[in-house]
Symmetry: C2
Subunit: 341 residues, 2 copies
DNA sequence: TTGTACGCGTTATCAC
DNA sequence: GTGATAACGCGTACAA
C-alpha cells in the first residue's frame, strides 16, 4: 500500500529543489521559470502528491473555515438556506462546519467553542437561542440571518414590506375583512414586521381587520386542529363577508386551506388566502397557495459576502475595528397563485 | 484587545510546569496530582486559554473530520438525513464538512480532493454521480447511503420489504387492480427493490397489476401534469374497478391525490393510495397519505456507526484491511393514514 | 509524577 | 529565481 504520505520534502529531494521552491510553486508559481514549473508538476504526478491543507492552515493561520449553526433542518427554510450558503463555496472558497442546534442553548455554546477551537474565520448564526449580545462577545467575524440582531451584523428579509404586499393584495381582492393569523412573536425579531406591516396597511386603507395570535404547536395535527378552530370562529364572527387571510407561514396556510377545502370541496369565493415563505408545501397544496417568497438565495449570498469582507478586514496587518453594525434587508417577492385572484 | 493567543508554552511559564505537563492535563489528567490539576485549571481561566484543535490535529494526525457529499437539500429526505448525521456529533464527536453536489460529477470530484486535503478520516456519500468503483479507489473509510454500492460499504433502506408492505396493504384493501407508478430506475440502485417487491407480491397473490413508468420531471407543475395524464389513463382502462396505487414517492402520491380530490371533491372509494418516504408532504396533504416510512434516523446512525468502526480500525498500529464489504439494510415501516383503509 | 527534545508539513523571513 | 532556517502549537518517545 502507498501508506507514506508525500510531503514537500519528498518533492524537493526528487526534483533537487528546496522545500521553499515547492511551496512557491503552489503559492506564487510565476516566480519560478516555466521550465522548473513543469519539472515540479511532473514530480507531483510521479509521486502522487496529496496536498495537506491542515499543515498549510497551521502554518499561516488562515483556516478558510466558516462555522454555521442552524436551529434544525426539518423546516424547508433552514435546509434551503444551508443549501444556498454551502453553494457559495464555488464563489468564495470557504469550507463550512455545520452544527444543528435543536434549540438547546448550552449545547450551542459548546458548538461555538468547538468551532473556535478549529480556528474558524467567521460564523453564521441562524438559531435564536443565544442573544446577540453574547454572540458579539465572541469577538469573531459574525453574521446572523433573520433573528434578533441588536449587537451583531445581520441579513434579514424585509418582513414589513412582505406583509404590506400580502395585505395589499388581499385588499385589491375586495375582501371585506382581513385576518392575520400568527403565533406569538417577540418584537425584536425581524418577523415581527409581518404583524406591523399588516396592521399599518389595514389602517392606512381603513379596512376592518383582526389579529389572531395562537400557539398552534409544531405537529401537523396540532396545527390542523388550531386552524379548524380558527375557521369555526371566523365563520361565526364574519358570516357572509369575504375574508382575506394572511397566514404567517405556508404551513399554516396549507392547513387552513385543507380545512376550508374539505368543508366545501373547493375554495369558496368567500375566502382569499396568502401565506409566507414560498416553501414547497405552498406550491403542492390542493390549490397552489399565493405567498410571499423569501429570497433565500440572496439572503445567503449577502450574508456570505458581508462575512467575507469582515474576514478579509481581519486579515489585514492593521485591521480597522468595525465601527458600526450592518443590517441589510432583502425585499421578498409576491407570488400570486390560485388562492387569490 | 486580547490579540495574542495563549499557548501551552504560556501556561507552562505561568504555572512553572513544562508544556508536556500541560498537554497531559488535557489528555490524561489523572496522571497529575489533583493539586496540580487545580493549579493548571486556574491558570487556564486566568489566561483565558482557547484550545487549538488544529494544532492538535496537525500533531497527531487525527482530524476528527468526516466529509459528506449530499446531492441537494431541496428534497426533505436529504435534509433530514443530513440532520440525523450531524446529530451523531453528540455520540461520536466527529465534525462534518458538508458539500452539496448538485449532480455535477466533476465538481464532486473536486470536493473529494478538498476533503482529502483536509485530512478527513472518513467519507459519507449520498450522491449518485460517482461510481462506487471510483469511490473505492480513494482508499479511505467510506460509507454510502441508498445508492449504487457494488464496491463500497453501504446502508440502505430495505426497499423490497417496503414495497411488499405497501402492496400487501393494497391487496388487503380489496383492490381489483394494482398500479405501481415510478420513474425509470437503474437495477443496481437500492430503490429498484420497490419495483421488484411490487411485482413479486402481486404475482404471489395473483392480482392483476401494471407498472407505469414515466419521467415526470422535477417541477411540481410537470409532476402534476404527469399524474393528470396517468389518472385519465386509469379511468379509461379500469372503469368501475377499485384501483390500488403504489406511488414511488410521496411527492407523486400527493400530486395524484390532488388530481383525484379536485375531480371528485373527496377520495372516492374506487381509489386506494400509498406513497413512499414519509416526507412531510404526505402528512400535510389534503388527506393524510399512507406511506412507507424510511427510518432516516436509523440509516444515519448505522452509517456513522459503521464508519466509526472503519476509522478506528484504520487508526490501529497494524490495521486489518477490510476483507469484505458490508451492506446493511434497514427495514422501513408501514404508516397507515387516510388514503388506505 | 514530571521534563527534554524532537516531529508533524507547511509558510515566512531572510539571505544569496 | 532560489535556498536555509525558523516559526506555527501540540503530541510523544524517552529520560529523570
Amino acid at each position: 500500500m502507498d501508506k507514506k504520505k508525500i510531503t514537500f520534502a519528498d518533492i524537493a529531494k526528487y526534483t533537487n529543489f528546496s522545500k521553499t521552491t515547492i511551496s512557491r510553486y503552489f503559492n506564487d508559481p510565476d516566480s519560478l521559470t516555466l521550465e522548473n514549473q513543469e519539472i515540479i508538476a511532473q514530480a507531483l504526478i510521479d509521486l502522487d502528491y496529496q496536498e495537506n491543507k491542515l499543515a498549510k492552515v497551521f502554518a499561516n493561520g488562515k483556516s478558510e473555515f466558516v462555522g454555521i449553526i442552524v436551529p434544525n433542518l426539518y423546516l424547508h427554510y433552514y435546509a434551503e438556506m444551508l443549501n444556498q450558503i454551502l453553494n457559495t463555496y464555488e464563489k468564495f472558497g470557504y469550507k463550512f462546519l455545520v452544527f444543528v442546534g435543536n434549540h438547546q442553548k448550552e449545547i450551542e455554546r459548546q458548538y461555538i467553542q468547538e468551532l473556535l477551537a478549529y480556528k474558524i474565520e467567521g460564523l453564521i448564526i441562524l438559531s435564536h437561542t443565544i442573544s446577540s449580545e453574547e454572540l458579539a462577545s465572541y469577538n469573531i467575524p459574525l453574521v446572523v440571518i433573520e433573528r434578533e440582531d441588536r449587537h451583531v451584523n445581520s441579513i434579514n428579509t424585509d418582513n414589513y414590506m412582505g406583509a404590506v404586499q400580502a395585505t395589499s393584495l388581499l385588499i385589491r381582492n375586495h375582501c371585506d375583512v382581513l385576518l392575520h393569523i400568527n403565533s406569538p412573536v417577540a418584537k425584536d425579531i425581524p418577523s415581527y414586521g409581518r404583524i406591523q406591516g399588516f396592521q399599518d396597511t389595514c389602517r392606512e386603507h381603513g379596512v376592518e381587520h383582526e389579529m389572531i395570535i395562537r400557539n398552534p404547536g409544531h405537529s401537523h395535527k396540532e396545527i390542523h386542529a388550531c386552524m379548524s378552530e380558527i375557521y369555526e370562529y371566523m365563520e361565526q364572527k364574519y358570516p357572509g363577508l369575504r375574508k382575506g387571510l394572511f397566514l404567517a407561514n405556508d404551513t399554516m396556510a396549507n392547513s387552513m386551506l385543507n380545512v376550508i377545502f374539505r368543508k366545501h370541496g373547493s375554495l369558496p369565493d368567500e375566502y382569499r388566502l396568502i401565506g409566507f415563505d414560498d416553501s414547497p408545501v405552498a406550491d403542492r397544496a390542493i390549490l397552489p397557495i399565493s405567498t410571499i417568497g423569501q429570497q433565500i438565495d440572496k439572503l445567503a449570498y449577502e450574508a456570505m459576502e458581508l462575512l467575507v469582507t469582515l474576514m478579509n478586514e481581519r486579515k489585514k496587518r492593521r485591521p480597522m475595528p468595525q465601527t458600526e453594525l450592518i443590517h441589510k434587508n432583502i425585499t421578498p417577492v409576491l407570488i400570486r397563485r390560485e388562492t387569490t385572484d
